[in-house]
Symmetry: C2
């Protein structure tokens, strides 16, 4: 089997959410696995001098309109969440704890967290919400609550975020195929072409 593709996102990225609904099927169409890398975008923005879309004059208003339009186009359940954006430390740590301990549950949890925030309007910066999302999947919230406070998982999220920045990730979603980088939801079509053709 050829190498997995890598998918970097922050759980508070609308374009990351939209891409998350498509990326695994896209990879599978080309016989690839897809490795998710939840990370914190804020240090990546600091490293690259970027700012959050929503805070930018003109671009902020454009983006809000665009998120609605993209969601409608693809039939993705979405409403602009308030507050926005939110910190995703607890959600990302929970993903990485599951990835290490119950790996089949990590991606389903990632989908559920995205949906909780962008479809249901729940504040995923709240650890209680993160645990409730896991519990609704049948996971043991008490075990997960302990897991996300361990030094290993805290270090894992830091290392993932630093590793992503070192690999050149400056925004979300960010997809890497055999070393080739693709930034943005808009580039999923190009990712698919790259997989089909093996580059050009």
């Amino acid at each position: 089997m050829p190498a997995a593709i890598d998918f970097y996102t922050d759980f508070s990225s609308p374009y990351g959410y939209f891409a998350s609904t498509m990326i695994d099927a896209l990879a599978a169409r080309h016989g690839r696995d897809c490795r998710w890398h939840p990370m914190l975008l804020s240090p990546a923005f600091q490293a690259s001098g970027n700012t959050r879309l929503i805070d930018q004059p003109l671009k902020g208003a454009y983006s809000r309109h665009d998120w609605d339009r993209v969601a409608r186009r693809h039939g993705i359940p979405y409403r602009f969440p308030e507050p926005f954006p939110v910190g995703t430390v607890a959600a990302a740590r929970a993903f990485w704890w599951l990835d290490a301990n119950m790996p089949t549950q990590a991606k389903p949890f990632g989908h559920a967290i995205f949906a909780a925030y962008f479809a249901q309007g729940r504040d995923i910066s709240d650890k209680a919400v993160v645990l409730a999302v896991a519990e609704a999947m049948g996971l043991d919230a008490a075990v997960l609550a302990q897991g996300i406070e361990t030094p290993e998982i805290k270090a894992k999220l830091r290392a993932e975020t630093e590793g992503a920045i070192a690999a050149g990730v400056f925004g979300a979603p960010f997809t890497v195929v055999d070393g080739e980088q693709f930034w943005g939801f808009d580039r999923l079509g190009m990712v698919e072409e790259w997989l089909e053709r093996g580059g050009w």
Copy 2:
């Protein structure tokens, strides 16, 4: 005939160049004219708090690689120009003078200016280069040289740039279809879908 679509760009935008090779045919496929709006991006960046891609850590390197990749994919003659970016006041004024005085020559001149910079590596910030590009099209360089120094044409470029910013343009290329805004080369596919479906 339905309303024309509007295409905003700065002549030093690589993504604007790539889009310029496709946008008229795209519009024509849907029975639309396409109005070009050459403008100066730098005031738009000031208004929106953006900075030039090439100056941004991580994103700058990504963009240089991406421009090569996009050009190869679509068979667009391209090499990264030096210096980059350059001021395009003279080129944009020449476009608007032609648009006012010899309108059938304006878009061919726009294509020739883009090609001079991005395919031939000529410095289009140099007024002599701008005039030489026009002359190679059979235009009267002396008349154009006078034309681009008139108060009317200087005011026209200022008004176009200010009007674009007032309309929400914060980057290039920027395409507007019946009031709906699409930012970026990446969105030409969505522009086409919007034209096909009349929105969604």
